[in-house]
């Protein structure tokens, strides 16, 4: 483990990171967002879900720098008197959870199917790739809406956890296609390399060759894709929540916050919806920039 760390710090990727101000800025912003989201319980000035602390008299207060604002509520409050800054942190936690979980799920499915497709070839390959083509011909938001809608219809009184599971599945299912295609392409290249043939001559079983030889050598592009897809998944979740079919209302994500705040936009209470929107942009942008940098750093031709 220590050796791996030393190798990493000595390696090209770390060097390229230190030379890229853009990557450092994006990493710092992403780190702050993720840190606040993960440790919202301790970092947030208020607990927006603790009904005892809510004061309806403090509802719809503007940000602290406004004349009517209170220093206690830095970014103002919503219609229930909840501190916006705190709801942002808790909301970002939900968004990140759904985003990361759905990407993990689609990575697992996509990498497994792509590896199988590239390694088995023939009919298996043709079948998986045609399924990919069909998936790609639908807009992913449509598939997500469909799954989410069916999930809700099947379990109308579902527990929150189940609702989350359905949502994550709904975002992950259209998402595995790019991983499958990327991994299939790299697998086709790797499996003809002589080290794979050497393993076959030794008598290593195909499943073992896939797992131990091919898989580690095709994960580079997947890492890049997954980073960019996290931002995409967070946005999809926000879209679904904005449309009212996302996370349960008891667990508001950034998308839910934007939707709720949207109702107050025209009455002049802009901060309720603008700040969650800005937070969403910040997370998506920083993660995207990190992904772009990683793509360049891992691409030997751009070095």
């Amino acid at each position: 483990m220590q050796a791996a760390l030393v190798r990493f710090l000595d390696g090209d990727v770390w060097h390229s990171f230190r030379k890229s101000p853009m990557a450092i800025t994006a990493a710092v912003i992403a780190f702050i967002c993720i840190f606040c989201a993960l440790f919202a319980n301790w970092v947030a000035p208020h607990n927006p879900f603790d009904l005892a602390t809510l004061e309806l008299g403090d509802a719809r207060l503007p940000p602290a720098w406004d004349e009517e604002g209170k220093a206690k509520y830095f970014l103002g409050t919503d219609d229930q008197g909840r501190d916006i800054l705190s709801t942002l942190m808790f909301g970002a936690r939900i968004s990140l959870l759904v985003g990361v979980a759905s990407v993990l799920l689609s990575v697992v499915v996509g990498v497994a199917l792509g590896l199988l497709s590239g390694f088995a070839g023939g009919k298996t390959d043709a079948l998986i790739m045609r399924v990919c083509d069909v998936m790609l011909s639908f807009p992913s938001i449509l598939i997500a809406l469909l799954i989410d809608g069916v999930g809700r219809a099947m379990f109308p009184n579902a527990h929150d956890t189940l609702a989350f599971a359905v949502l994550i599945l709904a975002i992950a299912l259209p998402g595995w296609v790019p991983y499958a295609r990327t991994v299939r392409g790299s697998t086709l290249v790797e499996r003809h390399k002589e080290y794979v043939q050497a393993a076959r001559v030794i008598g290593v079983a195909p499943a073992r060759i896939m797992r131990r030889h091919v898989l580690p050598n095709v994960l580079g592009p997947v890492l890049v894709l997954a980073t960019i897809q996290v931002a995409q998944a967070i946005l999809t979740e926000a879209t679904l929540s904005f449309l009212g079919v996302g996370v349960p209302p008891t667990q508001p994500s950034l998308g839910t916050l934007i939707r709720v705040g949207n109702d107050f936009l025209f009455s002049g209470e802009w901060w309720i919806t603008i700040f969650p929107g800005a937070m969403l942009v910040l997370i998506a942008l920083s993660v995207n920039l990190l992904g772009d940098w990683l793509r360049d750093a891992l691409n030997p031709r751009l070095r």
Binding site: V201, I202, G203
Partner: protein
């Protein structure tokens, strides 16, 4: 086919009659009528829409030879003549379209499919051409060389594995401490020696070497070849040595097979082949070697191009380039005929025209 059955019958009951055919007993590897066809057709939809036909490349087309225990057979020929395909067929990387490979009396293709036959993987190994592609870039040398040992359960625990890998590395002239390094920390020649160490790990009897030195520079080639010859002397290894470098072949081999467009055109002992080549193609190849001692002799440069293997010429595949070709050569494919000390597939030689 008839000749195959008559040849194989005395050997199959060789256990009852030990003195039956000593020559056949000595052959470790025996290849009969081996062929491999690859489909290179356009995708199904294109074929249907554009009315194209299915296309096949006959990479290897009816090759037969045998290698005696402890000897080296070299296969030579131009690029694309099917040398590497033969190598891959022998170790089971490809399934043959036709023909058999027998290793120590058992059919390798049938044996490799059975669980017990997996032990056959231990007895034959392969050394690959490109030392940069044949080692997994993410694995340490310990894991690379140790993989066959682990796979076949030949070592108990980690210390035993380390000791065995260090021993193998010593045998190819590397240090035991190298096992903690990654492949990119080695030069091409060192990598090829790691590759040899991996191939030796299971103590195989038969090594298939697919152009093991062609990716190395000349000074390192000699080093790798000498290690291979030393190992052959010490362990009685049998080699199939694929190369397009005739100087290397002359250095390492006992017998030489010349391939042209997937067919074996001549096979003979090293001395015979280099001193008195019979097949016109072999002569052409040997004449193409620049040699200071032959400076007075007229050289026939290799003429023409290798034909498209998708549409090989009729009859003898070499006839469009052959100075001795006649009408029969263009129609009838010459069989591999045994002459004293060699086998050759040529009508002109058989008819005594050359």
């Amino acid at each position: 086919m008839n000749s195959t059955s008559t040849l194989s019958s005395p050997r199959s009951d060789a256990t009852e009659q030990p003195a039956a055919n000593r020559d056949a007993d000595a052959a470790l590897v025996e290849v009969k009528d081996l062929a491999k066809t690859f489909e290179v057709s356009a995708p199904w939809l294109n074929r249907v829409v554009e009315g194209k036909e299915r296309q096949f490349v006959h990479a290897v087309d009816g090759v037969s030879f045998r290698i005696e225990r402890g000897k080296t057979l070299a296969l030579v020929g131009e690029s694309g003549c099917g040398k590497s395909t033969v190598a891959r067929l022998l170790v089971g990387l490809y399934a043959p379209t036709r023909g058999t490979v027998r290793f120590d009396g058992q059919d390798t293709l049938a044996a490799l499919a059975t669980p017990a036959g997996r032990a056959l993987h231990r007895r034959m190994q392969m050394i690959f051409q490109d030392p940069y592609a044949s080692l997994n870039p993410r694995w340490k040398v310990l894991d690379i060389v140790g993989e066959p040992l682990r796979e076949h359960g030949l070592v108990g625990d980690l210390p035993a594995l380390r000791a065995r890998v260090a021993e193998l590395l010593h045998s190819v002239g590397l240090a035991g401490a190298d096992c903690e390094k990654f492949p990119h920390q080695f030069s091409g020649g060192q990598r090829q020696r790691i590759s040899i160490a991996r191939a030796l790990a299971t103590q195989p009897e038969f090594l298939v070497c697919d152009e093991p030195t062609s990716a190395l520079d000349v000074s390192v080639q000699a080093q790798v070849l000498n290690i291979m010859k030393d190992l052959q002397r010490e362990r009685g290894l049998t080699y199939l040595f694929i190369s397009h470098n005739l100087a290397v072949v002359r250095h390492v081999s006992d017998a030489v097979g010349v391939m042209y467009l997937g067919r074996l055109v001549e096979i003979a002992g090293k001395q015979t082949l280099f001193s008195a080549p019979r097949h016109p193609y072999t002569r052409m190849l040997l004449d193409a070697i620049p040699d200071i001692h032959m400076s007075g002799r007229a050289r026939t440069p290799v003429q023409g191009e290798v034909p498209n293997p998708l549409h090989p010429p009729s009859g003898c595949a070499f006839h469009p380039r052959c100075p001795h070709a006649d009408a029969r050569c263009a129609q009838e494919r010459p069989p591999l005929q045994s002459l004293p000390g060699l086998q050759v597939a040529c009508h002109a030689v058989a008819e005594g025209r050359i």
